[in-house]
C-alpha cells in the first residue's frame, strides 16, 4: 500500500487506540475511589467456585461494623502452583499491595519461617483452638506460634457406587484389601466398569493420595523432625498402591495422568466403582442431570489391617501479610471471616466445609447439607502433610518417587530409599 494509505491506516489505528485507552481509564476511575482517609484492606484469595456475591455481602457486613474501613477483594487463579508463585514473588519483595491472604495448608510453616506472615496468636488464643479441627490447627502452628487461622477444610474421601455394591451384595469396604477384592469381583461381573480411580499424575495430589496409604498403615514421613519414610510398613503400603494398577488391575494405567477432574468425570459417567476425591465432587454427583445421581455413597477412606483411619488434610487458612500497612484491621478481618456465623454463611453459599466443628452440629446447616455429618468424622481424623518450612521441596521429591512407583518404573523399596536419601540432603542442607 502506498505511503499515504499506510499513513492513513496507522493514524486510524492510533485514533482508535486513544479512544480505547481513554475508555479504559474512565472505567478504572468509576470503580469508585475509596473515601479519602479510609483504611483500605486488600483481601487476596484464590477464586471460590460460584457466585462472588455472598462473599462480597459478608465483606460489606464487615465494613458496616468497622466504619472507615474498606475491604477490596483481589482474586487469584485457584491453582495452588500459580498462587504460590504469585506470593513467592510478592512477599519476597515485601510488597504491601495486599493485607489478608488465603494460604494453602502446606505453606503456613514455609511462609512463617520466611518471615512473610504476621503472628496471629492473639486472634487464635489456645483456649479457642479446640473449636477447630485438630488437623488444621497443627498445620497453622509453627514453633508454638499461630501464623494463620483455618478458614475452610478439605480431606480425601471414598466415593462408591451404592447401587452396584447392593446389586452384587458387597458391603462398603473398611480395609484396602477388602476394597481390592470387591473391586475385582464387581469388575468381573460388570463389563466396562473400572474398579478404583484416584489421582496418580505427578503433582501435589499424588502425595495426598499416597500418604493416605502410608498413614492408614500406621506409617509416617517424618516424626519428631526426623525422616521415617523408608520403613517396611511404608513399603508394604505403597506396594499395595502399585498393585492396584499392576497386580489387581482394578486401577487403569492411565492413573498416571489423572487429577481430580478426569477421575471425577470417569466416576461421574458411571464407569467406575470406587473413587478417591475431595468433598467438592459430592455436590456435583448430587446434580439431577448427573448420570450417577442417587447412586453414589461417600465414606471414610479404608485402612490397612491393624492400621488407622487417615485422610490427607487440605483447605485454606487466612493470614496477614507481614508488610501490611494495616495489620490490626487485617487481623480483625481474619477473625471476622473465620468466626462461626461467617463460616455458616459461606458453607450455605459455596458448599464450603468450615474449619470450625460447631457448624457441623448446626441443625439448619445439616438439613441443607446432610453430607456434613459424614465429613465431621473424616475431618476429625484428617492429618496435615509434614508441617515443615521445606515442605514444598520435600513434596517435589515425594511426587517424583511416588510417580515412579505408580508408573511401575521403580519398586517401592528403591523409590523410598532414593526419597529418604534426598530428604536427608534437603533437611541437612536447610538446618
Amino acid at each position: 500500500m502506498s505511503p499515504p494509505r499506510l499513513a492513513r491506516c496507522v493514524s486510524g489505528c492510533a485514533r482508535a487506540l486513544l479512544l480505547a485507552w481513554v475508555a479504559a481509564l474512565l472505567a478504572a476511575c468509576n470503580a469508585g475511589p475509596p473515601a479519602p482517609g479510609a483504611t483500605v484492606i486488600v483481601f487476596k484469595h484464590g477464586k471460590l467456585f460460584g457466585d462472588p456475591a455472598p462473599l462480597r455481602a459478608l465483606l460489606d457486613e464487615f465494613e458496616r461494623h468497622h466504619p472507615g474501613t474498606v475491604v477490596r477483594e483481589e482474586t487469584l487463579p485457584a491453582a495452588s502452583d500459580e498462587q504460590h508463585q504469585f506470593y513467592a514473588i510478592n512477599l519476597q519483595a515485601k510488597s504491601p499491595a495486599f493485607d489478608v491472604l488465603a494460604v494453602d495448608v502446606i505453606w503456613v510453616a514455609e511462609f512463617a519461617h520466611a518471615g512473610w506472615l504476621r503472628e496471629l496468636t492473639p486472634q487464635l488464643p489456645p483456649h479457642e483452638r479446640a473449636a477447630f479441627f485438630p488437623g488444621p490447627i497443627e498445620a497453622v502452628t509453627y514453633r508454638g506460634r499461630v501464623y494463620a487461622v483455618p478458614w475452610f477444610v478439605d480431606a480425601g474421601l471414598l466415593y462408591y457406587r451404592r447401587d452396584l455394591l447392593e446389586k452384587h451384595g458387597f458391603a462398603v469396604p473398611r480395609t484396602w484389601e477388602e476394597l481390592a477384592r470387591t473391586a475385582q469381583a464387581v469388575m468381573a461381573r460388570e463389563p466396562g466398569i473400572v474398579g478404583f480411580v484416584w489421582q496418580g499424575k505427578q503433582y501435589e495430589g499424588l502425595v495426598c493420595n499416597a500418604l493416605e496409604y502410608v498413614w492408614s498403615n500406621g506409617g509416617e514421613v517424618m516424626s519428631g523432625g526426623r525422616i521415617a519414610l523408608d520403613s517396611p510398613r511404608n513399603r508394604q503400603a505403597l506396594a499395595f498402591m502399585a498393585d492396584l494398577v499392576h497386580r489387581y488391575g482394578v486401577t487403569p494405567a492411565s492413573v498416571t495422568t489423572a487429577t481430580e477432574e478426569p477421575s471425577r468425570h470417569v466416576f461421574g459417567q458411571g464407569r467406575a466403582l470406587f473413587l478417591r476425591n475431595w468433598p467438592y465432587a459430592w455436590r456435583l454427583f448430587q446434580d439431577p442431570r448427573s448420570q450417577v445421581h442417587g447412586k453414589v455413597g461417600v465414606t471414610m477412606l479404608p485402612r490397612f489391617e491393624g492400621g488407622v483411619p487417615a485422610a490427607t488434610l487440605g483447605g485454606w487458612q487466612l493470614a496477614v501479610n507481614r508488610s501490611s500497612r494495616h495489620p490490626e484491621a487485617a487481623a480483625e478481618l481474619v477473625r471476622y471471616l473465620t468466626s462461626a456465623p461467617a463460616q455458616r454463611q459461606l458453607a450455605l453459599a459455596y458448599g464450603f466445609q468450615p474449619a470450625r466443628i460447631a457448624p457441623y452440629r448446626d441443625p439448619e446447616l445439616l438439613a441443607a447439607q446432610p453430607f456434613l455429618a459424614t465429613l465431621e468424622r473424616v475431618f476429625a481424623e484428617a492429618r496435615p502433610r509434614p508441617v515443615t518450612p521445606y515442605y514444598v521441596r520435600v513434596s517435589q521429591v515425594l511426587q517424583s518417587e511416588f510417580s515412579a512407583i505408580v508408573a511401575g518404573l521403580k519398586t517401592p523399596g528403591a523409590a523410598l530409599a532414593a526419597a529418604e536419601r534426598k530428604l536427608r540432603e534437603i533437611l541437612a542442607d536447610e538446618t
Binding site: 513467592a88 514473588i89 519476597q92 498416571t256 511426587q399 521403580k410
Partner: protein, 285 residues
C-alpha cells in the same frame, strides 16, 4: 545547504530500542546472573555469595542431567519437524491463489490460541479414558501417562502449536521474492526441485535462520506447554530445564539455584545459536 550528516548517523535509529532494552532487561539479567552466584534461598537467611557452588551442585545433580536430556531431545525433534512442515506449508500457501487470506487465518489458528489453554485442551484430548484421540482411534494408549509416550506427545502438541510461527515467517520471506525471479527460472527450464534448491532456499536462507534461532530459543524455554500437560511427570520423564527452574524458583524458593538453572538454559541456547551461525556461514559459502 545544511550539512545533513548527523541525521543519517545510525545512532538515532538504534537509540530508542537500545534504551528500552537496556532499561528493562539489564537489571533483571544482572540480577539473575548475580543470584546464580549466591546462596539465595528465602528459607534460610539473607543471601550469601558462594561463587560457583550452585553450578557445581548443578553438575552433580542427576535431576539436572535428566532435565537437560529431555530439553535437548524436545528442542531437537520439535524444531526439526516445525521447520520441515513449516517450509512445506509456506511453499504450498505461497502458490495457492484463491482464498489465500483464509488459509493464512486457518494456519495461524494454533499459534493464536493462548498456550495454557491449548495445553489444557490437548490434555483432555490425550486423556486415556475420556480423551477424544483414543475414542476416535479406538485405542487405549496412555499418551501422557507412560514415560515412553509422554515427551513425544508434548512434542506433537508443540509442533501443532508452533509450526504456524515458522509458516508465518517463511511466507513473509516468500512474499518478498519478486515473481520475475521465478519467471527467469522457468525460462531456463528449471524443474521444481532445482528451483527450490537453487533459488527459493538461498533467497529464503536469512528468514529460515531467524525462524530456526527463535524456535530453538522457545523450544529450550518451553515451560507452560509441558507443565500443564504432564507437570513434568511421570517420574520426571518430561521435566525440562525450565520446569525444574520453575520448581526451584517458585516452589522451592531457591532463587540462587533456580537462577543457575536459568543460566544453564541461556548457555544451551547460546551454544545452539553459535552452531547455527557456523552452519549458516558454511552453507552460504
Amino acid at each position: 545547504m545544511k550539512l545533513e550528516r548527523e541525521l543519517d548517523r545510525p545512532l538515532w535509529y538504534l537509540l530508542p530500542g537500545g534504551v528500552l532494552l537496556a532499561a528493562v532487561t539489564l537489571f533483571p539479567l544482572a540480577h539473575v546472573l548475580w543470584a546464580s552466584l549466591e546462596r539465595r534461598s528465602v528459607l534460610h537467611g539473607p543471601p550469601r555469595f558462594v561463587g560457583l557452588e550452585n553450578y557445581l551442585r548443578l553438575a552433580a545433580d542427576e535431576r539436572f542431567w535428566n532435565a537437560l536430556g529431555n530439553t535437548v531431545y524436545f528442542a531437537a525433534v520439535s524444531v526439526a519437524l516445525e521447520l520441515l512442515l513449516g517450509l512445506a506449508i509456506a511453499l504450498m500457501l505461497a502458490r495457492a491463489w484463491r482464498g489465500r487470506a483464509l488459509f493464512y487465518g486457518v494456519i495461524l489458528l494454533p499459534w493464536a490460541v493462548p498456550t495454557a489453554v491449548s495445553a489444557r485442551m490437548w490434555e483432555w484430548m490425550y486423556d486415556a479414558e475420556i480423551g477424544v484421540l483414543n475414542y476416535l482411534a479406538g485405542a487405549h494408549v496412555n499418551w501422557l501417562g507412560s514415560p515412553a509416550w509422554a515427551l513425544n506427545a508434548a512434542i506433537a502438541m508443540d509442533v501443532w502449536k508452533s509450526t504456524p510461527f515458522v509458516v508465518l515467517l517463511l511466507l513473509a520471506g516468500l512474499q518478498g521474492i519478486p515473481q520475475d525471479v521465478y519467471r527467469a527460472a522457468a525460462v531456463d527450464g528449471a524443474s521444481g526441485w532445482s528451483v527450490l534448491a537453487r533459488i527459493t532456499l538461498p533467497l529464503l536462507a536469512p528468514v529460515i535462520m531467524v525462524a530456526l534461532v527463535f524456535r530453538t530459543i522457545d523450544a529450550f524455554r518451553v515451560f507452560d506447554a509441558i507443565y500443564v500437560l504432564t507437570g513434568g511427570g511421570p517420574a520426571d520423564s518430561t521435566e525440562t530445564l525450565s520446569i525444574y527452574a520453575y520448581k526451584a524458583l517458585f516452589q522451592g524458593l531457591e532463587f540462587g539455584y533456580g537462577s543457575a538453572l536459568a543460566v544453564s538454559v541461556f548457555a544451551c541456547v547460546g551454544l545452539a545459536a553459535l552452531l547455527y551461525a557456523r552452519l549458516m556461514r558454511e552453507a552460504l559459502r
